[in-house]
Point group: C2
Chain length 191, copies 2
DNA sequence: GTCTATACGGCGATAGAC
DNA sequence: GTCTATCGCCGTATAGAC
């Protein structure tokens, strides 16, 4: 048996804290405490708070892509895959670990930290637009459906659903928002 | 002529800073500087940071309701009013001054500060559901459309649209997300 | 009402011993 | 690699003079 390395624990602790409290609300001291690491230890492995945050953000972004891609790559019609993506299990009340960073002024002001966030959503919209395009081409979806716009809608419903859920302190509005788009999508006249 | 009162300037400065940097990222000192008020002045008019934040949040929430209600109360069909709401002019890259607070752990942990946020979104979903119900009843929208779910979708698209716009540093994805839902809504088979 | 003085702990980092 | 010491500045107030 072996324990995870200190640097590993620092990254994971940072990921959790960024998720819970954001960049501005997360201090090096809090990270160290959660990781069970000392001051010197943290500054040995990382240059400072931004460097550690970059490692954490990059990992969260990568995880998000992998998790999402699993739904889009699975077999099924376009609508089935979009449905699988929207209905996949999520920590709804915690919100999106990547989308959350969008509200963090110090993250958005730093080009390096901002990059993974920007790339993640660009990729996600692109990927979903691709799935929708397949649906249009196969005649499953109306020919008039705009894949890029609809993809943005799908991603926005998820991100906005988190906001509504947190505001209500209940997962219900998230589920409703998802049901809402899926209802609209299902009622489309076939192409 | 008269100048605005100091307490008024403190509230407005707090609103701006909460919008730009969130509660955790906003310090009393920063508020004072922006308001052109001294330390003692701020603590004379308000009990402290939470008290001042409550005044700011309440006002922003009230403003949001008034602005939204204008679209819903205007004449027009249900879809026209929803469209007016979704397309109304917004500071897209700044995001929603109320929805943003949803990501602020210290706001959500304080029942008093949280209240206006919760109420605002509950009201908004309710209000939109009402408009959609009218649309269903008049036959403008399909009988199968779920007003509550679709209302959640509409609000989520706006809130999520802000996230996408900030991530991309461009208003384009917001507009696409809006176009996307409106496209789906318009393509509904009539009831 | 507004000002200055003072307080104490936390933030983010560096230095140097072990 | 990890620890403790130290640093200067900021956050969030309180006290009391004007």
């Amino acid at each position: 048996m072996w324990s995870v390395s200190t640097s590993e624990r620092l990254i994971e602790s940072t990921r959790e804290l960024l998720w819970e409290r954001g960049y501005v609300g997360t201090s090096p001291k809090a990270i160290q405490r959660r990781a069970g690491a000392g001051q010197g230890s943290m500054y040995h492995h990382f240059d400072g708070k931004p460097d550690l945050a970059l490692a954490a953000i990059t990992r969260s972004a990568d995880e998000l892509r992998v998790a999402a891609d699993a739904q889009f790559t699975a077999p099924g019609t376009a609508v089935e895959r979009i449905t699988a993506y929207l209905r996949r299990e999520r920590a709804v009340l915690k919100g999106c670990p990547v989308g959350r960073l969008t509200q963090d002024p110090d993250v958005m002001a730093d080009a390096t930290l901002r990059r993974p966030v920007e790339d993640t959503f660009a990729w996600l919209r692109e990927r979903i637009a691709g799935v929708l395009t397949e649906g249009v081409q196969s005649g499953e979806l109306a020919a008039g459906l705009d894949p890029a716009a609809t993809a943005a809608t799908v991603v926005a419903v998820v991100q906005g659903g988190y906001v509504l859920a947190r505001a209500a302190d209940s997962t219900t509005p998230f589920d409703q928002a998802v049901d809402g788009v899926l209802g609209l999508l299902a009622a489309q006249p076939a192409g």
